[in-house]
Symmetry: C2
Subunit: 277 residues, 2 copies
């Protein structure tokens, strides 16, 4: 059963309502245990101020969003992407984040080379992994739903993400692991087996719901309980791996939750977390 | 390389422009070799008239859309779905269709039981397969993109469809097979291996393109060449199975192709078929 001591809210859930400082204050006032931070919001707030506020409020950081986006049209573009990931790793150290969440990137503009895109992702991961190891921050590959394969992330199943982990991090425990997000993975007939395979590589667990109908590919995620995902079943599979970190609510909802008062969103997250996660 | 003698157009591609009689006339006037027929359009036209027109025009039928939709809230609903599939098989016989295309159906309203939905699909397939065998019409399971797992089809990868074929039709050649649609499957890292595995179970091959951005989950498919799918590569994999049937263009496009004159759509299909398929 869900325990509020494990509730984290990804600040994208209240991205329209709050900057980072406001989100830290609002979440901790509501006794939420953790936050996942977006780098654009972090830049607006300032790293030092964020670190101070997190310490003052005792709020844990379930992840830094996001690294990744490795593919690029040429070597210079790919190196710039790598450099940005190295910076994200340093920010994650300062924040004490449990992991850097990697949205690995899609097919470069003008290309139809999906296999080549996946090679760029593998190479980018390989290039940043040593710095992450040295910094002591694990990297969490987040497989994204196949509807994002073209433009956001060409890693689209948990099995594919774990193949990359095995290839790049075979001997190193879980310096490289995965973020399991029910929204992206719930449909996969192989999900239970792949979560079991993941074991200690589960570095993050994200929840929301799949609405019927879904009216937008990006910004129509549902609050837990409002859709068709059997979240508790997936939670049971994740629990069986031994994962005992924060469980993160991440809802992109332009027409619904982003239009409501922030405290209503937070309170609904708390309530639904207890009821459905 | 593409050969216009293998071009079929799924009438959904011109669903806003033509009824079935008009589509048969327009396609055959443009020297298109085949058509895939939708049952709602067939009912409007009348089966006898359609059969006569197809014979007069020498147009082949690459598939009848659609059977499937097996899940239901109770046994009576599921039996009604089975009965409707039996009727579709009889219609396919009359039309001389190469296969009945099965869109297997999604999770019944109010349920979150994805595994149970998949069992209903398996049981529904098992219930109609004897009639299809007796009638001599193969059944083509069409795995649909995972974004349709909730509401249209909970069979979402080619591997999953082939597992069903093995389970239900292990000894029977390809009475039960698959429709390979690039739109639904292009993202799958296991696609090449699964097409090879499919072999003679490939009963249909559908093409269109994945647009970036895609603005609607259902009705924003692209014309071949306008998106990111390497269609010719997938075509090569399908060719290697020995499949030499019709290749079907199927484009749902409410904001673009459905708004253009039917002859422009058909001529563009012909041109792009030669250039990209």
């Amino acid at each position: 059963m869900a325990d509020l001591a494990r509730l984290s809210i990804n600040q994208a859930t209240t991205q329209a309502q709050y900057g980072l400082a406001e989100a830290i204050a609002a979440y901790s006032n509501a006794d939420v245990a953790g936050i996942s931070i977006w780098r654009d919001k972090l830049a607006e707030c300032g790293l030092d101020k964020a670190v101070r506020m997190l310490a003052d409020r005792g709020l844990r950081v379930s992840g830094l969003c996001r690294g990744g986006m490795f593919p690029g049209a040429d070597a210079a573009a790919r190196q710039a992407n790598i450099d940005d990931n190295l910076l994200a790793i340093d920010e994650a150290v300062a924040l004490g984040a449990a992991c850097v969440v990697l949205v690995c990137g899609g097919i470069p503009e003008g290309s139809k080379d999906l296999a080549g895109t996946r090679e760029m992702i593998r190479d980018g991961l390989g290039a940043i992994l040593p710095h992450a190891r040295a910094a002591g921050v694990p990297l969490a590959i987040e497989p994204l739903h196949p509807m994002y394969a073209a433009d956001r992330c060409s890693i689209n199943t948990l099995g594919q993400a774990l193949d990359l982990c095995d290839q790049l991090d075979g001997c190193h425990g879980a310096d490289l692991g995965v973020a399991v997000d029910v929204y992206h993975l719930w449909w996969d007939p192989d999900l239970q087996a792949q979560i079991e395979r993941a074991g200690e590589r589960v570095l993050a667990f994200h929840v929301c719901d799949w609405l019927v109908p879904t009216t937008d590919l990006l910004l129509d995620r549902g609050m837990m309980g409002d859709g068709v995902i059997n979240i508790r079943q997936i939670r049971d599979w994740v629990d069986a791996t031994g994962y005992d970190g924060l469980i993160e609510v991440e809802i992109f909802s332009a027409q619904n939750w982003w239009k409501r008062p922030g405290d209503e969103v937070i309170n609904t997250c708390r309530k639904r977390f207890l009821e459905t996660v």
